[in-house]
């Protein structure tokens, strides 16, 4: 406690505890709280359920939270909650997603559209605008999945019309992805690219399916299927090093935690931010009706930069 916030408590809600990415976020949060001298309430977990998120936020408010950090996976359904918090003058920092409606002090996120775009560019260039790509979409009801899908689709259509895309909705389930991939490979043995929207979910299953189908060839082999992933967990890096997959977009779990707490603390202290570049390689933009968004960089990780120690995937488990 103590310090500049003078004991004002910050409530944090984790969206889920069953994915590698969010687990890293969960690990980083108390770590940065200490570093930033933020007094953290016991964090809650809304288990990917917006109704739970609303309940958790109400409970934290009752318990006297002065600012709240949340990562609503359903960005429409918190509108009322945001309005209530605004009434109570409790500033909100949202992480990873931007609320569709309602007030937030700051949105801390990497641009999911940019993920899809980056993956599209990489695959498009590697495949030379021809071939067939399987895309594992997340749940259609999740905004992040949707952003990635839409950006990927429109980029492909615009820049690489020579590539055929197979969109496989998977509900973020590896079993569905594995089944879809197996079927597609049978239907189109010449599939030469895969885009997976969450490496933490699909990586192992994808490699296993390719292995059993006899289609797992290292990068460089002409029969290699180009794979771009998303998340930036250590296992993806491992696979990049081994040449099993080509690239991944590193979602900045560490920066999410760090800057979310930073802005929450700043909000309590009454600081005001303006659009423009920041001191940490990012840009704050205004995303409409006064809401600011700090768009953190999400680097594309390939064989070239996979060993960069700054990547969060290289920091955990070490």
């Amino acid at each position: 406690g103590g310090g500049a916030t003078g004991g004002a408590q910050i409530g944090v809600d984790y969206p889920r505890a069953d994915s590698d990415f969010w687990n890293s976020y969960i690990k980083y949060t108390p770590q940065f709280a200490k570093e930033l001298d933020v007094r953290l309430m016991s964090p809650t977990n809304s288990q990917n359920d917006v109704a739970k998120l609303v309940a958790n936020v109400q409970a934290m408010t009752s318990q006297g939270a002065k600012a709240i950090v949340m990562a609503p996976q359903d960005t429409g359904a918190i509108a009322t909650t945001l309005a209530q918090l605004e009434q109570k003058k409790i500033p909100v920092v949202t992480v990873d997603t931007r609320p569709d409606k309602g007030k937030a002090y700051m949105v801390v996120r990497a641009d999911n559209k940019a993920y899809g775009e980056k993956a599209c560019r990489y695959l498009g260039e590697k495949l030379g605008n021809k071939g067939k790509v399987v895309e594992f979409q997340g749940a259609l009801s999740s905004i992040n999945g949707r952003d990635r899908s839409e950006a990927f689709a429109s980029c492909m259509k615009q820049h690489y019309p020579g590539i055929t895309i197979f969109e496989e909705p998977t509900d973020w389930l590896d079993t569905k992805a594995a089944a879809a991939l197996q079927t597609r490979l049978t239907q189109h043995p010449d599939i030469n690219g895969i885009y997976m929207q969450a490496g933490g979910v699909y990586l192992a299953a994808t490699l296993q399916v390719l292995r059993s189908a006899g289609k797992l060839f290292p990068v460089g082999d002409p029969r290699h299927i180009t794979i771009v992933s998303n998340d930036g967990i250590p296992q993806e890096f491992e696979s990049i090093r081994k040449g099993e997959i080509d690239a991944t977009v590193s979602q900045p779990a560490d920066s999410y935690a760090k800057w979310a707490l930073f802005y929450a603390k700043a909000a309590i202290e009454g600081k005001v931010f303006k659009p423009g570049p920041t001191d940490h390689d990012s840009t704050i933009i205004e995303v409409g009706n006064g809401v600011l968004e700090d768009q953190l960089p999400a680097p594309l990780v390939t064989k070239d930069n996979v060993d960069d120690p700054k990547l969060w995937g290289n920091q955990i488990g070490k």
Partner: protein
């Protein structure tokens, strides 16, 4: 005589000791727990669940089952909104007048219930599998026509019931209360209500006793769907928008509440009051876990374990085998 009656009543109250224990634990965990604000929040957060439980309890007592409620709670408001908002806001582009939204929402509930009834009663398909299929279809329709988008251009009239406060309490809580009181009275003191028990207990016997079993069952299915649509309306008001996943995954909680509240999956047994205690017990458990700041990784295991323990407690205090 009073002995057995008391006993029957006691069975409905089996969860009360567990609830008392929860209240004490809650107060110990955090003084905030007992504050009016917090308890009101718990109630408000449970209104939609409790309406679904009310509907499901009716269906279960009548000896059927309706899984599709968890999709109706999403589709009914989504489709109603879709019909009034412009295509630019992910609507269907029909743009009916705004006042039709609420009647439409409820009507959609009725239509879904009637269709379920048609498949189950007329085509004599298994209620479980029909409503499981419908759960998928209805959710699929919602994702299909909204293209997986949130509908957040909700007119104020539509959000009113879910967000207003009457007499210092959330309107939705009062609505639920009224619905439960009506249900409890109807099931305890009206012939039509009692006939639901008779049908669930032995449909052949009920038919022999002159009950129009098909009509009653159909009505029950429609009421349950209607309640789900109403719950969807309240949820939309409370959350301010309709997400494509609205209600998803709720059905298990609905069953958990109804069954730990003493409603039997075999039909013919249980009361709405019991079901309501089930809802409350679950709500208190979640609230206490949140207030207690349980580790996010262990919350689910602890939650499940507490349910099992509450169940054993109810079993011990009521002394009755469960089914």
């Amino acid at each position: 005589m009073t002995k057995t009656l008391r006993f029957a009543r006691f069975r409905d109250l089996a969860l009360l000791p567990a609830i008392v224990v929860l209240m004490i634990v809650g107060a110990l965990v955090d003084p905030v727990f007992l504050s009016a604000d917090n308890l009101t929040n718990v109630l408000q957060q449970r209104t939609e669940l409790s309406l679904l439980v009310l509907g499901q309890a009716l269906v279960l007592i009548s000896g059927k089952i309706d899984l599709s409620l968890e999709s109706t709670i999403g589709l009914a408001p989504a489709l109603a909104l879709g019909l009034i908002i412009p295509a630019s806001a992910h609507g269907l582009g029909i743009e009916l007048p705004e006042w039709t939204a609420i009647p439409l929402c409820l009507l959609i509930g009725v239509v879904i219930g009637a269709f379920n009834g048609f498949l189950i009663l007329k085509l004599q398909l298994s209620a479980f599998i029909v409503t499981l299929g419908m759960l998928t279809v209805l959710r699929g329709l919602q994702i299909g026509f909204t293209e997986g988008q949130n509908l957040f251009e909700v007119p104020l009239s539509f959000t009113y019931l879910g967000s207003a406060r009457w007499f210092g309490l959330p309107a939705s809580v009062l609505i639920c209360l009224v619905a439960f009181v009506l249900g409890i009275v109807a099931l305890a003191y009206f012939r039509q209500g009692r006939s639901i028990y008779a049908i669930g207990g032995n449909v052949e016997a009920a038919r022999a006793a002159g009950i129009r079993t098909e009509r009653v069952l159909w009505t029950v299915l429609i009421i349950a769907s209607l309640l789900a649509a109403l719950a969807g309306l309240l949820m939309t008001g409370r959350l301010g928008s309709v997400g494509p996943a609205q209600g998803q995954g709720m059905i298990f909680t609905v069953f958990a509440a109804a069954v730990i509240g003493g409603v039997s999956l075999d039909g013919g047994k249980g009361t709405l009051f019991g079901a309501l205690t089930g809802v409350l017990a679950l709500g208190l458990i979640e609230n206490i876990l949140t207030l207690g700041g349980v580790s996010p990784h262990w919350i689910q295991a602890i939650y499940g374990a507490i349910i099992l323990i509450a169940l054993m407690l109810a079993r011990l205090t009521s002394g009755k085998a469960q089914d």
